[in-house]
Symmetry: C2
């Protein structure tokens, strides 16, 4: 039987649980970007969260939700990067073991973070099947608790606390734009908005080259048979089942964005806001900038999910 | 007769004058960087100032110090970039004309800013002589008031307001590390510290390839006959006469830093703090990291002067 879907009260519990460990990140404004967009942009700065990404919220909630007995064996996950680093640091805040299965081709800076936070890294092939097999092996050997990067209800509830903070810190927003990959942040945000800001549209920004959420919501059922092709390394995962259910339930809408637009928005944000956000964050700004007439004059929340960029592989070269 | 040197009261007046226009920038902390440095680092985030640099403070103070009659003819300056953009925006806040003489080879992003803020750009050859000649021509033609990038006492007083804010926002600092080029920020900081924090050492970070302040203070007289060779494009100017006098009067100390260390510190700061600072800022962090035993356990202010990076000319290439 699948775990029950998280509800708003789970977000409140998560917020209380992670408060001693996670940061309340600032909401950033920029008059230059407002002028460019012709709208009022409120950026939730999760690139300034610990480990440089919102992922710490969900991981922290999962780790601190464990019973003493569960915690003793530690936790395990598979992750292309940010969730792995987040779980490693979350485990460290509770003093328990952490195992991270990392597929080949993961961003070097993210793997280095995982190790810096003291987790044991297990390398595997890049396929989903290979990751899950390696995860199962580690679980069998250690009895560690699996914390899935985005289907785990404790993770979804934790991720929702970012929107909770944003909606509590700003006056009524018309739209909240959130990147979507596996759907942990997206689903958590949808739960938060439905209760705190029912008039606020939740808009998911998804790479054209990994548009499984777009296809799934259009079809009314999960359509996740695809090979991702996008620079947004945090959004290559396929939409999870509980995530799909929550996004359908809350009537979230998806817009797809090309990598070219995402890179342009990232560069613009670096230059104007002086904030280093990763492509998987910049896609949310790109979604706004690519459709100015839709958003003209509106109050828009933009969830900047993380800032872990591989500086050796920037999408622009030397002149 | 040269203008009188600015004093602490001039900084207070500048702070009041620029308050309606300039931002009070935040003081940033990072536990990861504290751990790396073995010290407590308090970063004054002037890369988040308007135009992306502390230069807006001095320019704004100069523009708003003009009489109505003076203001009518506008202002003129020569600048490799940040001061030009700053004066352009400052002039716009008062609704007056601005002329900026820009030497060949200036950072493209900075020239674009100057134009975006509505100033008239006058291109000239890269030499100091060429700049001053072009400036004189513009003055003759327009009667605009010259606002020198760092010798103008109104500019020095304005730049000092950054340290004023930092020292008022933090408990007693042991050291305040500030980049030095022409010496406007350095001199303003020395004035602020002497009154507000007499126990706080002012340490100037200067590129090895433009170490005229180091040589000048060592010799007891200005030694500014050199050709700068450094990636820190904001620090290539030569130490001004009033700046020299103020730095000598307040017994500022200089440490020189290689570009290699500056670039490494910049990269580190981008990755950990997710803040886009330019090399001329990162040099202050590099000065701390290159001498850990000197700073161990101390409370250190680090003045991050700006964040206007040319993303097409980063000092590291694709892997």
């Amino acid at each position: 039987m699948p775990a029950p879907l998280p509800v708003f009260e789970d977000l409140l519990a998560a917020a209380a649980r992670i408060a001693p460990h996670a940061l309340v990140t600032p909401v950033l404004r920029s008059r230059a970007l407002d002028a460019l967009a012709g709208a009022q942009l409120h950026f939730k700065a999760e690139h300034l969260q610990r480990v440089g990404a919102f992922k710490f919220r969900g991981a922290c909630n999962a780790v601190w939700s464990l019973t003493e007995a569960e915690a003793r064996a530690g936790v395990v996950t598979h992750s292309s990067g940010n969730h792995g680093a987040a779980l490693a640091l979350a485990a460290r805040t509770r003093g328990i073991a952490c195992h991270v299965v990392v597929p080949e081709g993961a961003v070097a800076a993210k793997v280095a973070s995982i190790q810096r936070y003291g987790a044991t890294v297990h390398a595997c092939a890049a396929s989903i099947v290979a990751r899950e097999e390696m995860c199962a092996q580690v679980q069998e050997a250690t009895a560690a608790v699996l914390v899935h990067p985005y289907t785990d209800p404790r993770v979804i509830a934790g991720q929702g606390t970012a929107a909770l903070e944003l909606l509590n810190a700003t006056d009524a927003l018309d739209v909240l734009v959130v990147p979507v990959g596996g759907g942990g942040l997206a689903a958590g945000t949808a739960i938060a908005a439905a209760t705190l800001a029912p008039g606020c549209k939740v808009l998911l920004a998804e790479p054209e080259g990994a548009a499984d959420t777009f296809r799934s919501l259009a079809a009314g059922q999960r359509r996740v048979d695809f090979t991702p092709d996008t620079i947004c390394d945090g959004l290559r995962g396929s939409l999870g089942q509980p995530n799909f259910e929550l996004l359908r339930q809350y009537a979230a809408e998806v817009v797809t964005v090309s990598d070219v637009r995402t890179v342009a928005a990232m560069r613009l944000f670096w230059q104007i806001a002086k904030q280093l956000v990763e492509p998987s964050s910049a896609i949310a700004l790109a979604a706004v900038l690519q459709d100015p007439s839709r958003f003209a004059g509106q109050r828009i929340g933009v969830l900047l999910s993380g800032g872990n960029v591989d500086l050796d592989a920037l999408p622009w070269g030397r002149a």
